[in-house]
Amino acid sequence: MTRRAAPAVVALLAAVVVAVVALGAPRRAEALNFRIKGQSFRLDITESLFSSYRGDLGSLVIERTRDGQRVVGAHFYDLINRLNLTLAWKKLRFFTRFDTAVYFDTPNGACGDPTTTPVPLRSRFCQRYFWLEKIGIEYVGRELEVTAGDFYVSFGRGLVLSLRKVDELGIDTTLLGGKVVVRKENVSATFVAGVTNVQNTDDSTGRSTPDPFDVIAGSRVELRLADKVILGIHEAGGVFLGPGQSRTAQRRDGMFMYGVSLDVPRATKWLSLYAEGAGQLVQAEDARDQGYALYASATAQAGPVSILVEAKHYSKFQRWRSSIDQSLAEFNPVAYNQPPTAERVLTELTSPIFDVTGPRLRLDWRATPWMLVFASTGYFEDRGSPDKVKRIYHDPYAGLEFRWQNGASHFFPSGGIRFELCGEVPSACLPIPGTNWYQTIGHVEWDFTQALPKRLSIESQGFALFREGEGLGDATTSVKWTEGNAYLALKWTPYLILVGGYEWSTRPSTKVNEHFFNGSVQWNITTASSLRLFAGGMRGGLRCISGICRDFPAFTGVRLEVVIRL
């Protein structure tokens, strides 16, 4: 794709999109129904198109001239498309997803021979014009479900096996094979077997990977006892590539896990309980390891007050990683189990499951019909951090939910501070001078909506982090920085949304302080279809969801997003 042709092509594509959207605008938001030989069929279509001009190639790849000078202002274009199709007939459902990832104006040498291409360009900006990402057919009955093709699966609370979508991190892992679920009165059983099928292209960085095709099989049986207790027994195992093995080599490493769960949703009218334990056997690089995990939660209600207690004890319990090339950092978060961390969903976690123990308590109090107050605290001891140092975490936070105008308007503020302390070997953990704290992370979040007349509303949401430490200073100097997002929106329900945003990070890294401004407009074509245009910048940085963290690059440019749902 030549540099001169790229803008023309993108403009043409944008014109096609707009034309389609305009034609689709009068459509109601429902599926397409048709008949063949007297039989009724339903076709669901979800089409997602993202097209960007990215004026920030330097966030991903450093381009240099022949003289070795860094190129400033390098840019590229991308076009990402996802087409989901579902055809339903009686109890049968056929589904498929086609993806496209096309790039223009990319650096020379991108997506070259893996053995000679530098890591920044390796597997990056590979043209994938139209490929089959997911496919399957399933029969869904009340007592029997059978799937052939791609499916998601999770046993218990994910300690042993969990293949799900985590869109926020660009993860969408399925098992491509077969799944059978049988239900009969108080017994149900699930059997799965297949090879793993991951999302091949990372939208935010343009990196792609072939599917690992790691072999996995597992089963779970559930018994409902005395109409109160659900006892579950499950196991799962699989094989994967060892370090340095080529994709065509016979897999020599493997993992086997087994577990038991006890779920009592209504132990009493006011109490529910859950407990799960799992054992793990790992064969890796001709060595064997064992580990185990214990997790429990309890919920109690007393009038306007509810209490949640969670506790975890993980001992040498490994994440079930994939065979994807570990040099492709974007795909490192792909894993086949997802044990609960008992932490705040958005907290940065260094080693949330390997060798860690601790509880979390959360208390909610509905003070009035329109106001709720909550508070939470957690205490964890980490014995498995990379530097083998025992680290201790304290994580208290609190907030409230306040509503008015019969719930049409609301304000949800919250905040807290997370302390991470150095443990038994302080010399291996650089603390903040004068303390034994490794780092502190103060945080404030808010979500505010004020309803206005004529279906208008004004909204604001965002968060701010106040950080100190993280080993960035030295024995005498403490380093502090802040980062966060703040957004303000004007909405005209159900038609239009105008948003302005500000993001910042003063993190003392190789870059100067970073400030990003952006704006977007979203037109809701129907209640389920939309077109959004974004322009400006978004800061990069670590993003963590449910104990899984990955680094996202900054974005500067223009982005068009079209979602059409039929």
């Binding site: 429902e30 014009y129 139209f130």
Partner: protein, 192 residues
């Protein structure tokens, strides 16, 4: 399937969009327009005559019982609402859904709240249900099995309105202040 070079780049976009264009241009099997069609019905009523039979599913509810969509299909007006404990717009929408359910449940209306929480946050669902006093059935989709059927983009919140014949008549993505009034009028039109 790989197609090379510049025409293929255009093809990659045009194929899926053309498919969408073609299908959007085809009239629905039970369209409401055409010569001689009655006029005067409310816009929301006309919008809701077309639709498609919803696919059945079975999930466990927050009390451990198996609940199937077919328990309600063809008998009641059903609003399926996909939500999650980490979703702030869901927290704004749920009190309105609760109010809607309680005021119309005796008229043949039910809300099925499907929690999309995974292993990390599923423990918070019981306290969330109690906190918001969710009186309608709350189903747990830890595996994202039903999400894959009705909500492949895993949008939160996302709602589907199903009429008494079991057909999907409305899909709504997200929640904005004022949406509750629109949902109310759509439900009332189906309950008539």
């Amino acid at each position: 399937m790989i197609v090379r070079r510049l025409p293929a780049a255009l093809l990659a976009l045009v194929v899926p969009l053309s498919l969408t264009l073609l299908l959007t241009a085809c009239p629905a099997s039970s369209s409401t327009g055409g010569p001689g069609a009655k006029s005067g019905a409310s816009a929301s009523g006309d919008d809701m005559k077309a639709g498609a039979q919803a696919t059945d599913f079975t999930l466990r509810d927050s009390e451990g019982r198996n609940v199937s969509l077919s328990d309600y299909l063809g008998k009641q007006v059903v609003l399926i609402d996909f939500w999650a404990t980490w979703c702030v717009p869901c927290q704004a929408a749920i009190p309105h859904l609760k109010q809607l359910y309680e005021s119309r449940k005796d008229k043949g209306f039910v809300v099925l709240g499907i929690a999309m929480d995974g292993p990390e946050t599923i423990a918070q669902v019981p306290t969330f249900v109690q906190r918001y006093q969710m009186s309608f059935p709350v189903l747990l989709d830890e595996e994202t099995k039903v999400v894959n059927v009705y909500n492949p983009k895993r949008t939160a919140p996302l709602s589907l309105l199903i009429d008494k014949a079991g057909k999907i008549v409305k899909i709504r993505s997200g929640y904005n202040a004022g949406d509750e009034k629109l949902i109310e009028s759509e439900v009332d039109a189906l309950l008539q």
